[in-house]
Symmetry: C2
Subunit: 666 residues, 2 copies
């Protein structure tokens, strides 16, 4: 620090800047008397008046097109524009033309690696959603192909994911039992997938991507952690070989069910399950410690499947109480358009399930896409991703797939395996196709217990103790939000946990707006700056003045509160002054620098405050209003109260202008 | 202004301020070189570390006890404390001891005036809620007595009100038809009233009063306007003498019903109804034009009732198709505790109706109380009012009353009639008691049509075109919110209109947080201040710098947006600079003065931004962080990116400290 004035001035005159006309007087002012005292008071101007339509268009542009997506189309000939549009809609045309053999090699390696993980995970996750295992494989075939054409992430590995599978299973099971009405259940699952896709694509199309942001990270961490535990507990059924297991998801019911059916625990299943679970967890740990050994955890699930299948085949496991997957139909995805369910009593359920799983899938997919994009330093367009994932699910619902998105675990392995483009998804799909066509009989002897072990290994990564600890350290309220979501999922229900998460996130915003901070400010000696007395301890009060900073927009939701709070500040300050025998308070300055918006109630509150303080013979002046607040004040009735000498550009000027008045008045 | 420096300095030295130790160097600095250039850079300090518990207690205090209600108890002997507590709980002890005959005289006059309005209105509003007319009288007797003891407003006239009656009627009728199951309907009405009271009292007790603020004024105006029209349209039944009228509330259905039953229109009813309606509206208009003639509109309803009753009696109106109220039971409120309904299938409905009408009643009661308190310059304690209104409704539900609150029209007349204390409510109750005991037979011949005319006259005042026009001028978005609530009530349903109102109010807050303003700032020549270039047109860009103001907390809900938006600003500025051939951008300064809070996602976004700009060889520095943002940054990982020369007290210092660096680096 401590850069001297002279140095700085040199640097200013070094710079050439023909366009900035006023620079010379500026640097001159800085050189001679760098910041003149506020002897002249600056008028607070009105922002340039804009026609209502233009203002509305600009505001809508900020809300819906913050990234200015048409930026690259400007000043381009029509041909180029058309080509750019094609590239925009189908990113495959962007990277496809530059695709090379070297890239293909990397993509084949990473594609095969994720396939070895995706096949057993696909089968397992389908079971989480109470669907036949084959649906999990179908869902690992069509969606990756579609994403490869539409998606803008190079690292996303697409397929079924645990949380969305769990939530879909939980929501549908509440109404329809998959064991009793398997066809209806399947219909509803495809229909929910269809609506999830429609919802996702419309969010992207309407550029409402910010809805996905409405789950804050703390609540997301809590929700995922809770869901991971719920999923793991569900696996106790397979891991212990229990036959009569609860269909409930609650922690208490599941634990009760586990111990009530102790007699059903099968030691052969338990031994096999826990052995492979330990194997998988160790493999995961090795890859975590050394990312170069990513292939260890990538290959472990398929290895476990093969090993356990061989073991079962060799020992005729089905005779020892170890349940296996059994017969799986060969062949590619059958069409399922005819299964979509667009009327009848369960339509509402399907739509609701679609929207909830759709949002969850988007949240995961976009977060994963962005994470790896930032590691490789390229941009992922949120709205475009939503359309890609949405179209993928719509297409999926017509080809026997259920909700899919970018999976965190598989994308991480894809990234570590050195994938270069979305071609790795095509390789993945090809490997799945090969499996579906030729390898299905091999799964006949694969024990269910191994699927449980694979699921547990996949979801333990979702329990993020590190972040929880950090939240505790940095922000207790965030930690509480995280904990509530966690407890909600675990002890109430998955849906309730989700509702709690979103509710708390929104409540946090609202409480900040309803009960904003107000701070007492003082002058930082030797400057014209006024800062929070509690923050800058060197800052000093100006006698006879109360300088208050309002740290929030002034809204209907807080205008009453702010009015009362400001009056209380004034009352307390008067009491303090009386006790210390300092000179009486004569002027209250409100620093509106952080008041970034005001509504009609807010302006009424200011006028009301002015009147109340007037009755106490106290002057109320405003300092540093931002553009749109100035504009609204000007157009409102509150303007009458402040227009003559009530609004200043800065607190310094307000204090300077009113200190003479203050002395003469009394 | 143009107050000279010398003047100001004089005034400063005139003031005596022994307590503010640092004042002398301060005024000296102002005198010699009033604001030295930021050649020395001020360290951004950490706010004083507080133990987590104390910080939490202070924050909770700000949220729940902003008015510091125990303030008056501090440093008082126990006896005084007890007496103060009694006065706090039962304000009647506060003003009761100073009560005089002069006050009584005023209160008797105003009490009798509002009684003459309250009796016909009570009967009419009960019909709005589909309740027997006598319930309206009961509800004008017990609640005013209770409010007189507990309430802190001197002007509130308590009783049934139109909006809450309408909403209760609409919500209960959806499930239970009052014609078919009158007893059940009555039970549900009392139970809903009970829960309304419990809800209101708990809001007050838990100091959650701000929940009432969650309906913004624009949506409230829209909702009230729409509800007033719905109520008026419902009165067409009585006004036209239609027998078979729709039970629906929708605009379309009601108009259809009116014209479908044209054959039922009775000319005698129509003539009588419209004559009295015109009489009442003219009386209302006279009082509006000249508030001293308040008694004209106050006495008009009772006059109409008496006149119309005499007419009906004289002409044997029942023989001419004019329906009259008929027999009303004499006597005071019967107990209704036994009618409360605490289990069974309709409990949920009763609770829901109670909460909705309870909130509506509170909103009206508190707004009315505050309006008149500010006219007479005394304070109404929101939380205490909630408890008073809540207890009043709980007691009411046990004595055959339905939801009551402070009514706007009657309170206005109370105020104009010169009421001094809540004794006017006791006078009102006495007058109602007298009516119930002795005058009930007189209502036998009162025509229903007159009640319709009274209701219409009462509710037209709720349609507030003036405010709507002002909203259109000041804030188009607020106007849109108002219009949506209005249209929602009118064409969808009352409940939906209410939901739309609250939804829009909350959405407005959220959209502001999700898509905050970012502005490009420049130096105001001759000062150290940096302001929005679009607002202060004299301000100039500093070559090689991009100074951006972020006008919102940085949250999970906007951290992605802000990151993208800031990068776009930088990109656009680089393009502009390249076009104008100015010197290259080398440093980005973020003015965090309006960033009043930050969460974990926000800090990650800052760190992310720093990394992205680093890759472009751009320096990112922060200026003017507020206390809690500094504190959180310090405790987070983002601190590593900024601690060495990345955070400054003001934009001016940040620019000064980095301009040398900028020149030497390139």
């Amino acid at each position: 620090m401590g850069v001297g004035t002279v140095n700085r001035i040199e640097s200013f005159s070094d710079l050439e800047s023909p366009a900035v006309v006023d620079l010379q007087p500026q640097s001159h002012a800085l050189a001679a008397a760098p910041a003149p005292p506020p002897s002249e008071t600056h008028k607070v101007p009105l922002p340039q008046e804009k026609p209502a339509l233009q203002a509305a268009r600009e505001r809508l542009g900020e809300v819906f097109f913050p990234d200015d997506p048409l930026h690259q189309f400007k000043n381009q000939p029509l041909r180029t524009r058309l080509f750019l549009a094609l590239q925009y809609l189908l990113p495959i045309f962007k990277w496809g033309s530059e695709y090379s053999l070297a890239l293909l090699k990397s993509d084949v390696v990473s594609g095969l690696t994720i396939a070895s993980l995706a096949i057993p995970q696909g089968i397992s996750y389908a079971k989480l959603a109470n669907l036949p295992p084959i649906i999990g494989l179908y869902s690992s075939f069509v969606p990756p192909l579609i994403y490869a054409m539409l998606g803008s992430s190079k690292d996303l590995a697409v397929g079924p994911v645990s949380i969305a599978s769990l939530v879909m299973g939980a929501m549908l099971r509440q109404v329809v039992a998959p064991e009793k009405e398997p066809i209806l259940y399947l219909q509803l699952a495809f229909t929910a997938t269809f609506f999830a896709g429609v919802f996702q694509a419309s969010l992207g199309l309407l550029r409402l991507g910010f809805i996905v942001d409405f789950m804050s990270k703390p609540t997301l961490v809590g929700f995922m952690g809770g869901a991971a535990i719920i999923v793991s507990l569900q696996q106790l059924k397979g891991l212990l070989g229990i036959v009569h297991f609860t269909t409930s998801m609650g922690f208490v019911q599941v634990m009760k069910s586990v111990f009530d059916h102790k007699s059903e625990w099968a030691w052969q299943t338990v031994v096999m399950g826990f052995s492979f679970l330990i194997f998988l967890l160790v493999a995961r740990h090795i890859s975590l410690r050394n990312p170069k050994l990513f292939w260890v955890s990538a290959a472990a699930p398929l290895t476990s499947v093969i090993l356990s299948t061989i073991v079962c085949l060799a020992f005729k496991a089905q005779n020892h109480g170890i349940k296996t997957i059994g017969h799986l139909e060969k062949g590619v995805n059958p069409p399922s358009v005819n299964l979509l369910y667009f009327h009848g009593e369960y339509l509402g359920l399907a739509v609701k399930t679609g929207i909830v799983t759709g949002i969850l899938a988007l949240t995961e997919g976009i977060a994963v896409g962005r994470t790896f994009a930032s590691l490789k330093n390229y941009q992922v367009d949120g709205n475009k991703e939503m359309m890609a994932i949405g179209l993928m699910n719509m297409a999926g619902s017509c080809t026997s797939c259920y909700v899919t998105t970018g999976s965190f675990s598989r994308s991480a392995i894809n990234y570590n395996a050195g994938c270069k483009t979305a071609v790795s998804n095509i390789v993945l799909a090809s490997a799945v196709l090969f499996t579906m066509l030729f390898l299905m009989p091999l799964f006949y002897y694969t024990p269910n217990v191994i699927l449980s072990a694979i699921i547990i290994t996949a979801v333990v990564g979702l329990i993020d103790f590190g972040t929880m600890l950090r939240l505790w350290k940095v922000d207790k309220l965030d930690f509480l939000a995280c904990l509530s979501a966690f407890v909600g999922v675990l002890f109430v229900s998955v849906q309730m946990g989700l509702a709690i998460s979103v509710g708390i996130s929104i409540f946090k915003i609202l409480i900040h707006v309803t009960r904003p901070n107000t701070v007492m400010m003082g002058n930082v000696p030797g400057t014209q700056s006024y800062r929070n007395l509690g923050h800058y301890r060197e800052s000093v009060r100006i006698p006879s003045f109360v300088v208050l900073g309002v740290e929030s927009p002034i809204y209907f939701a807080n205008s009453m509160y702010l009015q009362e709070r400001i009056l209380r500040w004034v009352r307390e300050e008067e009491e303090r002054v009386a006790k210390m025998k300092e000179s009486n308070i004569k002027c209250v300055v409100l620093d509106l620098g952080a008041v970034t918006a005001i509504d009609t109630s807010g302006m009424e509150a200011l006028a009301e405050l002015k009147k109340t303080l007037d009755k106490k013979s106290l002057q109320l002046v405003l300092a540093n209003p931002v553009g749109n607040v100035t504009e609204k004040l000007y157009r409102s009735e509150a303007w009458d109260f402040f227009r003559s000498g009530g609004i200043y550009m800065s607190v310094g000027e307000a204090v300077a202008a009113n200190s003479t008045k203050v002395t003469y008045d009394y």
